[in-house]
Symmetry: C2
Subunit: 770 residues, 2 copies
Amino acid sequence: MNQYLRIDEWAIVEEGFDAHTHELSESIFSIGNGYMGQRANFEEAYSGSSLSGSYMAGVYYPDKTRVGWWKNGYPDYFAKVLNSTNWIGIGVEIDGVPLDLHKVKVHDFVRTLHMKEGYLSRRFTATLEEGKEVEIDAIRFVSKKRQEIGAIRYSIKPLNFSGSIRLTPYLDGDVVNKDSNYDEKFWLEVSRGTNDTSAHLTVKTKKLDFHVTSVMEYCVTKNGQVLPIEPERNEREKFVSHTFSVDTAAGEELVLYKYAANVTSRNYGLGQLLPTAEKLVQEAKTAGFASLLQEQTDAWADVWKEGDIVIEGDPSAQQAIRFNIFQLNQTYSGEDDRLNIGPKGFTGEKYGGSTYWDTEAYCVPFYLSTHDPSISRNLLIYRYKHLEKAKENARKLGFTKGALYPMVTMNGEECHNEWEITFEEIHRNGAIAHAIFNYVNYTGDKAYLGQYGLEVLVEISRFWEERVHLSAMKDKYVMLGVTGPNEYENNVNNNWYTNRIAVWTLEYTLESLNYLSTEEPDRYRELTERLRLTEEETGKWKDIIDRMYYPTDEERGIFLQQDGFLDKEIIPVRELAAENLPINQKWSWDRILRSCYIKQADVLQGLYFLSDRYDRETKKRNFDFYEPLTVHESSLSPCVHAILACELGYQEKAYEMYLRTARLDLDNYNNDTEDGCHITSMAGTWMAVVHGFGGLRVTNGRLVLNPVVPAQWSAFSFRVVFRGARLKVTAKADAIEIVNETDIPADLSVCGNEGTLEPHGTWKQERVLV
Amino acid sequence: MNQYLRIDEWAIVEEGFDAHTHELSESIFSIGNGYMGQRANFEEAYSGSSLSGSYMAGVYYPDKTRVGWWKNGYPDYFAKVLNSTNWIGIGVEIDGVPLDLHKVKVHDFVRTLHMKEGYLSRRFTATLEEGKEVEIDAIRFVSKKRQEIGAIRYSIKPLNFSGSIRLTPYLDGDVVNKDSNYDEKFWLEVSRGTNDTSAHLTVKTKKLDFHVTSVMEYCVTKNGQVLPIEPERNEREKFVSHTFSVDTAAGEELVLYKYAANVTSRNYGLGQLLPTAEKLVQEAKTAGFASLLQEQTDAWADVWKEGDIVIEGDPSAQQAIRFNIFQLNQTYSGEDDRLNIGPKGFTGEKYGGSTYWDTEAYCVPFYLSTHDPSISRNLLIYRYKHLEKAKENARKLGFTKGALYPMVTMNGEECHNEWEITFEEIHRNGAIAHAIFNYVNYTGDKAYLGQYGLEVLVEISRFWEERVHLSAMKDKYVMLGVTGPNEYENNVNNNWYTNRIAVWTLEYTLESLNYLSTEEPDRYRELTERLRLTEEETGKWKDIIDRMYYPTDEERGIFLQQDGFLDKEIIPVRELAAENLPINQKWSWDRILRSCYIKQADVLQGLYFLSDRYDRETKKRNFDFYEPLTVHESSLSPCVHAILACELGYQEKAYEMYLRTARLDLDNYNNDTEDGCHITSMAGTWMAVVHGFGGLRVTNGRLVLNPVVPAQWSAFSFRVVFRGARLKVTAKADAIEIVNETDIPADLSVCGNEGTLEPHGTWKQERVLV
């Protein structure tokens, strides 16, 4: 926990430089545009602790995996997002001495992430030897409009001396990944070169042959006048630079504008990489920095128009929720259906940048409500494209049919190797099925089922069919040896959530098949023939639906997290002495596993996902039992509890849960944000506000809203898109207002009142507690 | 499976050289004397595949551990026995060409492990270029009488040519471990030097500072006459050698006698290492090869006198059982209570050479019956000395009291890191307690309890006390989150065996305390005060004994391996198609865990350990249920089944089980003996014969024998020592004869007949089936 940032509703502001929080700030002030991202590393040299990170979406490396004891079925590699060519670098020497913030006195340091406009700025004064003072003002962004382009405006002003300033803009492909399993470097040089005012570098990954070409262009002004430059041009392996010196008098401002284009072989043929990058960077340079920045501001204005949340009376919460929305939009823009959302986005290496079930469980709802449906559809198609790999994965584990999606993946192959997760945390298959339901239910795009969705549903259902078996003892279907969402239990039998989501998948698959057979009979025939779907199979699914075993405790009226859960010692978290928390740091794994403590929503995850299947009393009994046992040591946990707490009228609990994620990174709540921001949990925070306090659901094609305003806020409003309409929902303690900002009507149900909100209409009602 | 060795009752013989089986032979033909060991690597250079292994007992390295995902409580290192200075090396050049069996034609190759006499020989003819034929005859051994001494007789005879033979005896400390986690070398040079006919090298380990000094001496004869030698003396880092050439005519025999002393800082101060080694090697050289070899033969004659087994009518079984007894005696000689028995002994690196529960469960019974009680007592004292570390280990996992012995250890610290094993396979604590019972019961040495045993028992009991808890649901004590002996189940609740051995420990601890309070009241007072043992504690133990929960199936009348076992699909192994076996190679870990298949005896292990607590019918019901589900994919499994099968009269099953381990290494049954022999399972094979077919038990101070002769044998006999008496037991189909070869009487119970066998007396009776 480290609260060092200034509260500002539209910006993240760090005042004063502290080397101890620099890596943390490098994460928080990261910039990205869905195509590439950049940690807030300094342009100039920095000899203090720093985690360099320049990431190109989808460019990864299958690193040799580290494992003590091999188990059959483990994958051969762990994929990791690659730290790739450093395109931001600018060497700065003043009278022959390199500028290095680790070695000089720094005053008036302000680093600002301008969330409204989408750029990063940094301004400071440094006192060099002999008392020379120099002011630096740096701005940079990665363009939302021109995805391959990054631009930097780097201003240097000697305040009290005249001297020679030597600048070295460069491209450096000789970079490392901190998480390289065997300290290996992953890049090889393909080609490099320098021209009059540009330089280029093409590198490729040692495996998989991803090529990245970077081209830089620049120009220099003094007091606004372009300077003619005759640089030295330097090259060495995986490195190109220009170097030049400018004599500058006190008070004069020297500005280097650096433009870089980064293109990859994911999008272009190898022969096109260099010409394309050269063309793009020339166009950017021609447009000029000011014009690019205006484009950027315009592009971000569009984002906020669709997905902003306004919180009144709580600037800290306001800043936090905007930061979360901002980072989510920096991470995934949705145009490219080969991409997905890593838990750290472009802000760090941890978790390898790969795809987890976080996407389906937490991110899809965010994108559904804040973007055109095509964006979340692309997240679904990503999994559709991996279906063959998921089938292979199931075969590898010994299943004769069906698909098991991987726990962690880059290209559809599993790349995680803890048996209790990789092989057992199979509920991820359910989340992937549920995201299809979610998408179709929210958007009304039922055509998706016939096009892509059903094929995935059928293969997942086949997996569940084979994964359960009829217990002779119980005469019920059971599912042995799983790990539920609560990863503080491993290898349990009959995890309620997994059993339930499996049966729900079968139900939804049958329902969808039924829909298709009625509404698209030709497609139905074609699909079932190709999939060789038999009545024997669907009959088996019905039998499993009818005869699944669910562990329950009749006395307490609750679902049991797994068989034998009540054999544990049940002591609420609040009765643990503080020194025990967080248990994942204080306790041995052995003790954690045997304890009753829950890392993240498990039974409650099911009650959230399948909300309409359970009545309020059932939810309440389970919440009252499990919430006190939950330690929320996953950043993905509190949001689900917040949403259920809202629904159950536990407003204080809801707000407590909301607080646990809202400023997770800004206040470094878990002491690990220096590794990168918790991007996917940011979607959870959004859900806590919109699904929780906003009470948003979609039922029978109608947008349901049941807002409650936390006592700490005077009001809040959020924008959502729903079936073409963009709605601004404002909730106050006593009133709700909904404005339709589009030409498309929207069917609503607000605190129980159903109706249609006409184009550009306003819906007002007093808030009624339901 | 690879049957390439000639059957011989007293020797292992390989005829013909095959590079493909060379590494396998390197394991099988290993020599050792409990202090050091040596794989059957060639003296001369060999460029084919080979695993070099020269091991000094107790000299290990704490290698950095390899793990993908860290769990709290994991150890920092994995200890491994070190491949240390190669003292056998002799470079051989014939007319300038190095002799290398990978590059020349080899005829009449015979490698022989002379088990009766305790040495290795190798003889062959090699055809060099231009048709030169040379005959090599090499003999070597590590001395049982002079533990630091290894001796080699290396004979070279040109058969059809005259030429120059250049020999280079050397010491090479620049060696690697194949299983180095990060390909690191573990040795540093301390000092080296060469003298007229000797050379010395001292190396030390990079961590822990183990020093090993090796000194070599040699002499050379031609046709039996000692040759004066003026060698070149060469040195480089971690390497010393002498080189000389001898002109030799066809038919002349050149013999190099090489003597090496290897001493370690485990036994001598650093300043004493070199002088001691020099003295020892001089003494050996002075004694001469023939005399050392005679000492060796005499020493091994003593071993066979105490522990031989003779099988009549089955030379293959005869060879196998002698091989097992031979290797066990090569591995552990019992003088040094800081040493123990690694699963591979001195025959390979796998499993790090560390101590597992194998020692207590399998090896102690062997040493109890075939050696002076001091030998097995030292195995027990090894654990006594580790008690403080075992207490630390329990603290590390969060226990406030008691001791948890490590799963794998070199110095008492845990050095294994799979959570499901390290943290959960805690039944090892029970085996360590049971070995104390076993020792006291067999030897009658009750004084051991007061001296060492009870302290260990109390701390283990305290661990169990804290590890169980009262289930509110069951109103019984339960033990959650364990892995039983069957490692094909992980993280189960209420493993019957673990619950049972825990309660047995409490019972035996209380019984032993009771004994001490009566028989040694002063010691009792002293001990209980020092241990601060309270009546509250022993009261709690009694409560646990009274109210432990044991999973059972009333209908089948069996103990359940764990909670929920009967929810599995129960299909006997015999109904699996052959391509599924072994499941540890053919199935994913996921599938194995969910299956009903049992790696090694689990419930049945308990029925064997606690044999006198269960009646025949109970054993039979459990055996009939679990045996068909057991895949025996641990080399430690079949022996327990063999013993129970004998007891239950399932003679065919017993013999089938016996066959599965008897020739495990000789026939490379598991295709992994090239990594080293399965030393600890060899003790299991011995148990299968003596406890199984011999029916040996000790009850009320009486040696119980109930021999049954397998149909495949005409008779068998074995020698055991029992309370000072050495007995030779001979069983034929229709008669049993027991000869007391000592001056000490022995109380026996033979097939139900009790009596005392007087010194040098013979007991004869007809065999009666019981």
